[in-house]
């Protein structure tokens, strides 16, 4: 009698199934109330759908009911880590729409604030990376301690650490004193020392390299087609920085480089951000040196607009103003119908659009990698959901 080997475990009994798991919305590492519906085969991701809208506050419809100036405090709360650049974007769009001239000193102050914001944002994001990878908050708080120095600068200038509401169409709301400029110069002098230490933590640490290199690779053409902008795009090797391409504000006067990556993985994105911080310091040095002393901080038309917002009735038309915020291209699309309130107000949020290829980057990786990849996309839910 031939011995027939009975199958120990028939296929139908031990069939592996795809497990659907919710990553979020309450999760300490998803950078806000963000939910990812991941289908897992074992620990590997086979499908990942981002699901957001938990922080939708209908910013666009609120803005249709209030004047242009009254939208500025709401833009602070879009990307709540970088409030100055949000204000800057709306100011650029309103100036385009209404033809408001900008004062010279106002331009310099805006650029200083924008680059300080870039430092603030990139420091925070790099600190969060180390937190996401399990360092339990210590390097994050080193980063935040440096960030606090810049936030104190913002408080001295605008009155508030994070919700600054400072930049206005035509310049800035209030002038900065010489003492403030000296403090800013001091911080710009001290920052590279912190950056060196932080860069060492990132570059030489074997754990960080193992977990970030060749993880979440994004090819160049997919990045361009998916409308990715910001450090995420430049890490793939595409040289597109709106400060250089559009040359808005007074950026063409400054001498700075655009760091590019090559592979487009998580490590490249973080390293591009560290290099961008160094370039921001260069711009800050130049701006703090060249700032004019005698020009007003706000052009007369801007002053009139701030004092009596309802008298600003731009001509009918549309305008799309965009800036290079630390996260990517932040654009404001305004449609005016001749009344003091916008007819249509749309925010082109970089975090929202950068999430398009989250699934493509995460496929084939493990769950822990998905958290690290999400951290490298650098989202802020205030901007994603508006």
């Amino acid at each position: 009698m031939a011995t027939r080997q009975a199958p120990l475990m028939p296929e139908s009994v031990l069939q592996s199934d795809v497990l659907e798991v919710n990553l979020g919305p309450q999760h300490p590492s998803t950078h806000g109330v963000f939910r990812m519906i991941a289908s897992l085969d074992g620990e590997t991701i086979v499908k990942l759908k981002p699901c957001f809208g938990y922080m939708h506050r209908n910013h666009e419809q609120i803005a249709e009911g209030i004047t242009y100036i009254a939208s500025f405090p709401y833009t602070d709360r879009l990307d709540y880590l970088c409030s100055m650049t949000n204000n800057f974007g709306l100011a650029v769009a309103i100036e385009k729409l209404g033809g408001i001239p900008i004062s010279e000193r106002g331009e310099y102050i805006r650029v200083i604030m924008a680059e300080l914001t870039r430092l603030v944002n990139h420091t925070a994001v790099t600190g969060f990376l180390l937190n996401d990878m399990g360092a339990f908050g210590t390097p994050l708080l080193y980063a935040f301690r440096e960030r606090e120095k810049i936030l104190d600068l913002f408080e001295s200038a605008s009155g508030s650490r994070m919700m600054c509401n400072y930049i206005r169409p035509g310049g800035v709301r209030e002038d900065v004193t010489d003492a403030w400029l000296d403090r800013a110069r001091g911080i710009v002098r001290e920052y590279p020392r912190f950056l060196d230490e932080f860069e060492k933590l990132l570059r030489d640490n074997e754990i960080v390299r193992q977990r970030t290199q060749n993880v979440g690779v994004l090819p160049k053409d997919l990045a361009v087609s998916a409308s990715i902008t910001g450090p995420m795009l430049r890490a793939t090797g595409v040289n597109y920085d709106i400060r250089k391409v559009d040359g808005y504000s007074i950026y063409p006067r400054f001498n700075f480089k655009v760091p590019l990556g090559s592979i487009g993985d998580v490590f490249d994105r973080y390293y591009v951000r560290v290099l961008e911080m160094r370039e921001s310091l260069k711009i800050l040095e130049q701006a703090l040196k060249d700032i004019p002393k005698t020009s007003p901080h706000l052009s007369p038309k801007g002053q009139a607009m701030g004092k009596a917002p309802r008298t600003f009735k731009p001509a009918k038309g549309e305008a799309y103003g965009r800036i290079e915020s630390p996260k990517g291209e932040l654009g404001f699309f305004l449609v005016s119908d001749g009344t003091p309130r916008p007819y249509r107000y749309h925010v082109r949020a970089p975090s929202f659009i950068n999430l398009t290829i989250l699934e493509d980057m995460c496929l084939g990786h493990k769950v822990a990698d998905a958290i690290v990849i999400l951290g490298s996309v650098d989202i802020v839910l205030g901007e994603v959901d508006r």
């Binding site: 405090p73 408080e155 209030e174 090559s262 290099l275």
Partner: protein, 241 residues
């Protein structure tokens, strides 16, 4: 170095190529320490920060010349409170000159209309017939409520007030055990004197005082010109050519 030709002054920093043996180099961020030492270096940074939080440790670091000036930055609130800058803003208050009934607010309601989250509610003081009551030559508000839970400290009410009647205060301890009435600051709790304003914000109040002084001087001059006796009118009427 790759540089795009189409944008003239754009210089880009690409990855540095290195003649290294391992595979995935020729990219950003070349390692500078031998393998294995990176984690140790990170831990040394943590050790240095940890030692620096204690006075003995700081002395030790200074001895070893490793002190970089960063250390314990935590302030133990509420025993020690952080000193904020002059411009720090949190919640508005109404300014009065001298006595509480000499408040600058005339209940024009511009701040109520311009407030983005609509947290201000004003009712003008009116008599039984419905016409406004005047004090010190100005109308005044009967109720002036600002809801602490709604106000977002944006300072737009201050920007648009034509009478410099509302300014930003810097007290932030408004916490309460209940919502509703306790979280609404009414006119009495909002009224603070001009001396208080000068104490908390010297340079801003100096600008406001100068502006109000100039306005008052202009008004006084106009009143004096109107009250001055007319020059002796000539008998013949003026002939218009």
């Amino acid at each position: 170095m790759s540089a795009e030709n189409s944008v003239a002054p754009a210089e880009s920093i690409s990855r540095e190529r290195s003649a290294s043996s391992s595979g995935n180099d020729a990219r950003l961020g070349q390692r500078t320490t031998p393998l294995g030492l990176g984690v140790i270096q990170g831990m040394l940074i943590t050790l240095r920060q940890f030692t620096g939080t204690y006075p003995v440790g700081r002395w030790l670091l200074r001895l070893l010349r490793l002190d970089k000036g960063d250390g314990l930055v935590t302030i133990s609130y509420p025993e020690v409170k952080q000193q904020h800058d002059e411009r720090f803003r949190y919640f508005p208050f109404l300014v009065y000159d001298g006595t509480k009934d000499n408040l600058r607010c005339v209940a024009c309601r511009i701040c109520e209309q311009e407030c983005p989250p609509q947290c201000i509610h004003i009712v003008m003081q009116k008599d039984e017939k419905g016409s406004p009551v005047k004090a010190h030559g100005r109308t005044l508000p009967k109720t002036f409520d600002i809801d602490v839970s709604i106000c977002m400290s944006c300072r737009i009410c201050v920007d648009v007030c034509p009478f410099d009647a509302i300014e930003m205060d810097n007290t932030y301890e408004h916490a309460n055990y209940a919502r509703g009435r306790e979280m609404v600051m009414d006119k009495d709790r909002l009224l603070k004197s001009n001396e208080y304003f000068q104490k908390i914000k010297p340079s801003e109040s100096a600008v406001v005082d100068a502006r109000m002084g100039a306005k008052k001087a202009k008004e006084d001059a106009a009143a004096a010109a109107a009250a001055a006796p007319k020059p002796a009118a000539p008998g013949a009427p003026e002939a218009k050519v």
